[in-house]
């Protein structure tokens, strides 16, 4: 029998729990349900799921609390689900270590894509990923060559500046995942980086002019307004 990935769904709303669980089991995952924060924490430590889908609005505790506690001892991927639409909440959850974020309402496609990305990122810890094997990341006609520090579009070097390359390289490393502005700023410009992210935004505009056909119709790097950027996933 095939071993299936265990996914813990932490959600107090029964109807949503039901729909997520049935979608997951129809797509080859093994879902478990927890309806409160306490239950979730004890299930995580006893069953060690492969992914946690965590609703932020739980009756007994704030989902962010669970995330904080979990991150103190585990790196297991967490996809946060919430009805809070303010981008501050997303940024907070992501900066606390959530791997991804889904805003209610979301479609099944979106849910499955996020779960796949989350699992892939834990599986492919360095050795197995394309980046580690070949030193490149490929998506569509775009190739990031980590050894030569180049980005190729249809086989041609697009001549990014050092910072532009570092931004693209970082997003490529975490493709499919949204990286917050603050995270990218910190990675590139260090912990004392300006809290103003204008440099990043301007660099991104320049990158898009080099790699996208139309900067307003990006195929490779997407914007999450008020939150950050996300690199498209390769095949």
């Amino acid at each position: 029998m095939k071993i299936r990935d265990k996914i813990l769904v932490v959600e107090d709303e029964k109807s949503i729990c039901h729909f997520i669980s049935s979608t997951l089991s129809n797509n080859g995952y093994d879902p478990m349900e927890a309806h409160s924060g306490k239950e979730a924490l004890s299930m995580i430590s006893s069953y060690c799921p492969d992914v946690v889908i965590l609703d932020l609005g739980l009756p007994d505790m704030d989902g962010l609390e669970i995330l904080r506690e979990l991150r103190s001892w585990s790196n297991l991927p967490v996809v946060v689900v919430s009805a809070r639409t303010h981008e501050r909440d997303k940024v907070e959850a992501l900066d606390l270590g959530a791997d991804d974020y889904l805003t209610k309402p979301f479609g099944t496609d979106e849910l499955l894509a996020r779960v796949r990305t989350a699992i892939r990122h834990t599986r492919t810890t360095s050795e197995h990923s394309e980046i580690a094997r070949l030193g490149t990341y490929t998506v569509g006609d775009l190739v990031i060559d980590y050894n030569k520090h180049q980005v190729l579009l249809n086989g041609e070097n697009v001549h990014l500046t050092v910072n532009e390359f570092r931004i693209v390289a970082l997003l490529g490393k975490y493709s499919g995942k949204v990286l917050t502005y603050a995270y990218i700023m910190k990675e590139l410009w260090g912990p004392r980086a300006d809290s103003d992210n204008q440099i990043l935004r301007v660099n991104m505009a320049n990158i898009r002019r080099k790699i996208e056909k139309n900067p307003a119709e990006p195929q490779y790097i997407f914007t999450e307004a008020g939150v950050g950027y996300r690199m498209a996933e390769g095949e």
Binding site: E217, T223, A225
Partner: protein
């Protein structure tokens, strides 16, 4: 107590300087007129006028009352014999004093009352706008809910008798109605995000093309069949805005182009700038806006109530009202018109900041 002072005796420097200026003006006028007529009968009258002006133009009772005191002393000290001496025993003097005080208090009272009435009227209008919005929302929510409940009940109760196609159609309807409800809720969230004042918005310099791009991406997820041509300037255009709200405006305009354009098969989304404003345009090739609706397009009045047969549910009101509120809160303008070749165009302009995009070094 503090409240009492704030209401009746509010002190502000603008009023203080205004009062001083008026009193000084009155004094100078009297001094000049006295050369022509040394009798000085007019002095009291001019000061009464000054006191009245001050009471009318300042807030509360403080300055009017203070001015009448100053005026009385001034008249007595400067313009009444014996000059430059206080003498309250002059015949009729107490009367002058009382008249001035009364004039000042009565004018202040009247002014305050008028201001309160204006405030009240503004409140009432706000209240009315809120009620209109609620009415429009309830209308927008009730219809799709009816359809969702109807479709799901049919599926549950007589699902066995329905063909596969019929079931799929009912489910598709349910999904699209639910998506419509999401739009309503998102518009409401935008309203709460703007808060009551509708004047203060947390604006940040955003690359406008990113926001256009994201709105477009979301639109494409929902309306896969309608092609959108998008064009943005070659130069990066930074526009100060609340990105989430402007994305909502673009989403509303594009979705309206589909749901109200009826025959829309193509949408053009254009971003440009004239140096002072960022200009966003959403154009379609649909059936256009019914001319009768253009004057009150953004007013939030439910058009369907005038014209039930045309479109019972797809109320244009809320989406466009929210668009207008958002754009105005940004200090911008929004306009709509029909194109000669058919279709409609909605344009909104957002002022660019004086501090140009990035004076900072881009590559460190």
């Amino acid at each position: 107590m503090k409240k009492f002072f704030a209401k009746f005796l509010p002190f502000n420097f603008q009023d203080f300087w205004l009062s001083s200026a008026i009193l000084a003006g009155a004094t100078v006028t009297c001094a000049i007129l006295r050369h022509a007529d040394s009798e000085g009968e007019f002095v009291s009258l001019i000061f009464v006028l000054a006191v009245m002006l001050i009471s009318r133009l300042t807030t509360g009772y403080l300055f009017g009352t203070a001015a009448s005191l100053v005026a009385v002393i001034c008249v007595n000290y400067v313009f009444t014999y014996p000059y430059f001496a206080i003498n309250f025993t002059i015949a009729g003097y107490p009367l002058t004093f009382i008249v001035m005080l009364l004039v000042s208090i009565m004018t202040s009272a009247m002014t305050t009352q008028i201001k309160q009435q204006e405030h009240l009227r503004a409140e009432t209008e706000k209240e009315k706008a809120r009620a209109d919005l609620l009415r429009s929302v309830s209308h927008d929510i009730r219809t799709p809910l009816t359809s969702i409940i109807g479709a799901t009940s049919t599926l549950l109760e007589s699902g066995d008798y329905l063909s596969h196609d019929q079931k799929v159609r009912l489910l598709e309807d349910t999904r699209s109605e639910a998506q419509w409800l999401i739009r309503v809720v998102e518009n409401l969230l935008s309203v709460t995000r703007m808060g009551d004042s509708q004047t203060y918005i947390d604006k940040k310099n955003e690359p406008a093309e990113e926001i256009v791009g994201e709105a477009l991406q979301k639109f494409r997820k929902r309306f896969k069949t309608i092609p959108v041509s998008v064009s943005v300037p070659d130069e990066l255009l930074m526009v100060p805005m609340d990105a989430i709200l402007i994305e909502q405006v673009l989403a509303n305009l594009m979705e309206n182009a589909v749901s109200h354009g009826q025959t829309t098969t193509h949408i053009w989304l254009t971003l440009s700038s004239d140096g002072t404003d960022g200009i966003f345009s959403v154009r379609d090739n649909g059936s256009g806006i019914p001319p009768a609706q253009i004057p009150q397009l953004f007013s939030g009045i439910s058009h369907s109530s005038d014209n039930r047969t045309v479109d019972g549910k797809r109320n244009m009101g809320l989406g466009l009202t929210v668009c207008k509120a958002i754009v105005q809160a940004h200090g911008g303008t929004i306009t709509a018109y029909n194109l000669p070749q058919g279709g409609a165009e909605f344009i909104f302009r957002l002022p660019l900041s004086h501090t140009q995009p990035n004076s900072k070094e881009v590559s460190r």
